[in-house]
Amino acid sequence: MVPLSWYMVLGAVVFAIGVFGFLSRKNIIIVFMSIELMLNAVNINLISMSHYIQDLRGQILAFFVIAVAAAEAAIGLAIVIALFRNKATAHVDEVKEMQG
């Protein structure tokens, strides 16, 4: 039997990698992919906990996380397309109109 804490450490590793990618990458598409990575880390945690404490509510929550991830990806990539149309760039450090 694999202990629950191994799954949680795996979730923490994937989440930390996602945070690193989100904060450091230049390409906005890979920034969105890092967000998906973080959501997947949360899903690993939720489903492993749901298995170990024998309650299906964690999997229901993971189901909603997947639904929100799909909505977020659609909106985010629409924003990327609008950004590309207006600025012709996909790099986050070239978009700095709002810094005053």
Binding site: W6, R25, M33, L37, I60, L77, V80
Partner: protein, 170 residues
């Protein structure tokens, strides 16, 4: 023993693939590694007796979201992308922040106490099948959040169309 070996394989591959996703220069390569990552995460869900979630993971993530990402990657000029640097100036800071966050999460796991076990034991799920048990819970206790999720998806569809469509010249 074989369970530990399975977990070790999945954990190793998932970690390596996550690192590959955030460090590749070519976004197309990142998307392809991410496809492999989603299949491995689905395998891990199967390992946790969550076969419906594994199917959803493959259908929604690998089938839906990744295709969306591939469409967006087509916008990027790959040749220019391979010339310039991958990271913004704050990369060392973000590495420190992510490492610190990982340490904090792992430290906080030491004080984790699991809740008392619920009623959905493996025998019950095996008797009732996983999808049926999940569906019963979803359409009774979680009916209202389910409706809210459908509203969120509707708003996302409309918002994506509004954001991405060309402005009409008038």
């Amino acid at each position: 023993m074989i369970q530990q070996a399975f977990f070790a394989y999945f954990a190793f591959v998932i970690t390596i693939l996550s690192l590959l996703i955030v460090t590749r220069k070519n976004p197309v390569h990142s998307v392809m590694w991410m496809l492999l990552l989603f299949f491995h995460i689905a395998g891990m869900y199967l390992f946790l007796n969550a076969e419906f979630m594994a199917a959803i993971q493959v259908i929604v993530y690998a089938g839906g979201i990744l295709v969306l990402f591939l469409f967006a990657v087509l916008l990027v000029n790959i040749r220019e992308e391979l010339q310039i640097g991958k990271y913004i100036g704050a990369a060392p800071t973000s590495f420190t922040f992510a490492g610190g966050l990982f340490v904090v999460i792992v430290m906080s796991l030491r004080s984790f106490v699991a809740a008392p076990p619920g009623i959905y034991s493996i025998e019950l799920i095996k008797q009732e099948t996983h999808t049926k048990a999940l569906g019963k819970l979803l359409y009774t206790e979680f009916l209202y959040p389910f409706e809210v999720a459908s509203l969120i998806l509707l708003v996302a569809i409309i918002g994506a169309i509004v954001l991405a469509k060309r402005r009409l010249k008038s």
